[in-house]
């Protein structure tokens, strides 16, 4: 009896312990190490808050956070506005048998290497790239336009990625919508525009919010796109973090900046938590 309950308890724990252990050892513990590191001075020595006070006192660090928040807000807004109509077209206007293919095609570059994707935009936007050749070649502009190494380039690279991500999430959302809602609206005399504005849009709002939040989180934490496309003219937070590690080996300051970045994401999450109802499948 006793041994039976023991083995009955041992098995489930044996199943879940490896995953829990891995998470504790290589996710929770590193995070604690990082938190601890952020409270020590770079040149050795004991406990200090100077890494955090540096962020609040140094205008260049502040500016990186402001840049990050601005770019992320612009990217999230543009991506949602571009992706929603596209997802709607795929879900409502494309014949059912072609939908899977149309969607797969639409998000194919989403799956390629992040580094390669940003580099590809550099090819398009560079001084002697495709767009500038087209502009000068057609006689519209006498001189090439500075497109690469600007905030605009960073935003274009990000929007490209997140339009695909949001198309996926919004498409899934639109397909989950029961057609009977639309039928009911039509039966009650609503035209396609009113049905969309009063029925479809409000019902897909939670999905949009989840997608927008995901965009926010991934965008504000990304190092590759701003580094390749934006260059070093204006720094975003992840670039600032990497700079502390790369140039100066200053792990404590890099840790403090990472934790501040994480705190901002957490605050954003708490601020829109009531709209973010992620349902269990």
């Amino acid at each position: 009896m006793n041994s039976a309950t023991n083995s009955g308890r041992a098995l489930p724990w044996a199943l879940v312990t490896p995953a829990l252990g891995w998470t504790l050892l290589f996710f929770v513990l590193p995070f604690l190490a990082m938190a601890l590191s952020s409270l020590t001075a770079h040149d050795g020595g004991g406990f200090t808050l100077s890494n955090y006070s540096q962020f609040f006192n140094n205008p260049a660090y502040w500016q990186a956070m402001v840049n990050s928040l601005q770019v992320t807000a612009i990217v999230t807004l543009i991506s949602v506005l571009l992706a929603y109509p596209f997802a709607w077209i795929l879900a409502e206007q494309v014949p059912a048998r072609w939908q899977r293919l149309a969607l797969m095609l639409a998000v194919l570059p989403f799956w390629t290497s992040y580094v390669v994707r940003s580099y590809s935009w550099l090819l398009v936007l560079a001084q002697n790239g495709v767009i500038n050749r087209a502009l000068t070649g057609s006689g519209l502009f006498a001189e090439p336009v500075q497109l690469a190494n600007t905030r605009l380039a960073t935003i274009i690279g990000f929007v490209h990625f997140f339009v695909m991500l949001l198309t996926l999430t919004i498409f899934a959302n639109l397909k989950q919508l029961s057609p009977s809602y639309r039928k009911a609206a039509a039966d009650l005399g609503a035209g396609p525009v009113r049905t969309f504005l009063h029925v479809v849009l409000p019902l897909t709002m939670p999905g949009i919010m989840v997608g927008a939040f995901l965009t926010f989180v991934l965008c504000i934490g990304d190092y590759i796109t701003p580094q390749i496309l934006g260059g070093n003219n204006e720094l975003l937070m992840p670039q600032l973090v990497m700079m502390q590690i790369g140039r100066r080996g200053d792990f404590p300051l890099a840790s403090a900046l990472s934790i501040i970045l994480m705190a901002v994401v957490t605050i954003a999450y708490l601020a829109c938590a009531r709209w973010l109802k992620i349902e269990r499948a």
């Binding site: 098995l11 489930p12 724990w13 199943l15 879940v16 490896p18 995953a19 829990l20 891995w22 998470t23 290589f26 996710f27 513990l29 590193p30 995070f31 190490a33 990082m34 590191s37 109509p85 596209f86 077209i89 795929l90 206007q93 797969m104 639409a106 194919l108 570059p109 799956w111 390629t112 290497s113 992040y114 580094v115 390669v116 580099y119 590809s120 935009w121 550099l122 090819l123 398009v124 560079a126 002697n128 790239g129 495709v130 050749r133 490209h160 695909m164 396609p192 934490g221 990304d222 390749i228 973090v241 590690i245 792990f251 890099a254 840790s255 990472s258 970045l261 994480m262 269990r280 499948a281």
Partner: protein, 265 residues
């Protein structure tokens, strides 16, 4: 009459809009692949190809080819570990009542909410303190951290009641737990297990920042491509980028086929 005109207008506008977005999505990919196929030393217009010169150059570059092998190895091994741990824990949580189950499941999925940069930073600080050298193994450990929650979530969400009944039948017929696991649960859950594995493969294959922080001499392909970027626009980067794109597509198509097999259209 009026509503059919509206529908027609919507249809035409939709078509134009879809073409514009598809154009935007594929523009960089087309440019990448197109200018990988010319022999000149700059991947810029006008197009003068086709030529496979830069593909030969990539295949002759041992740094790139060994990075490619490293990437495949790290992706395959870390995904296998992630899917194994994810599957075992999903089974444990779905089949047994454990104290604090909700909290523990939350803990396993927690890394999904944290950016790769911060996961990589944390591991860098920890390994630095513990004296663990930078290596492919260190990067692989990081890849398991990011893919384990994904595998767990996919497999856990697919463990339904009818599978419980099949397992119960096997147990009633006298099968020990390990036999139930290997002969019933794994085959029944195979589509979700494969989905988790291939998704992990694609994420690990593309992952940059963790590998960048945690490897030094032997590194993965995205980091090696990053190193190539220092030389600016370079047709070799186009060629290797196109190859990476091809591998990703193969992985995604395999993933799609798995999904199609799970729910026949």
């Amino acid at each position: 009459m009026r509503s059919s005109t509206v529908a027609k207008a919507i249809r035409i506008l939709s078509g134009l809009y879809a073409i514009a977005i598809y154009g935007f999505i594929f523009l960089p990919v087309v440019v990448l692949v197109l200018f990988s196929l010319q022999a000149t030393s700059f991947p810029i217009p006008p197009f003068t190809g086709p030529s496979l010169r830069w593909y030969d150059a990539v295949l002759a570059d041992t740094r790139l080819t060994s990075a490619l092998v490293n990437s495949l190895l790290v992706a395959a091994i870390s995904s296998a570990v992630a899917v194994t741990l994810g599957f075992l824990s999903a089974w444990g949580f779905a089949r047994f009542v454990l104290p604090g189950s909700g909290l523990l499941r939350g803990l396993i999925t927690l890394p999904l909410t944290v950016s790769y940069l911060i996961i990589g930073m944390g591991l860098l600080v920890l390994f630095n303190w513990a004296g663990v050298p930078k290596s492919l193994l260190a990067a692989g450990i990081g890849h398991v951290v990011i893919n384990l929650p994904l595998c767990f979530a996919i497999i856990y969400s697919q463990m339904g009641d009818h599978q419980i009944n099949i397992e119960r039948a096997a147990r009633d017929l006298g099968a020990p737990e390990w036999k139930v696991l290997l002969l019933i649960t794994v085959p029944v859950m195979a589509p979700a297990i494969f989905a988790g594995f291939f998704l992990s493969m694609t994420f690990s294959w593309d992952e940059f920042v963790i590998s960048f922080l945690l490897t030094r001499f032997d590194t993965t392909l995205p980091v090696e491509i990053w190193n190539l970027l220092r030389s600016g626009l370079n047709p070799k980067t186009n060629a290797v980028g196109s190859l990476v794109f091809a591998v990703s597509i193969v992985l995604v198509v395999m993933f799609e086929l798995m999904l199609l097999r799970r729910k026949p259209a």
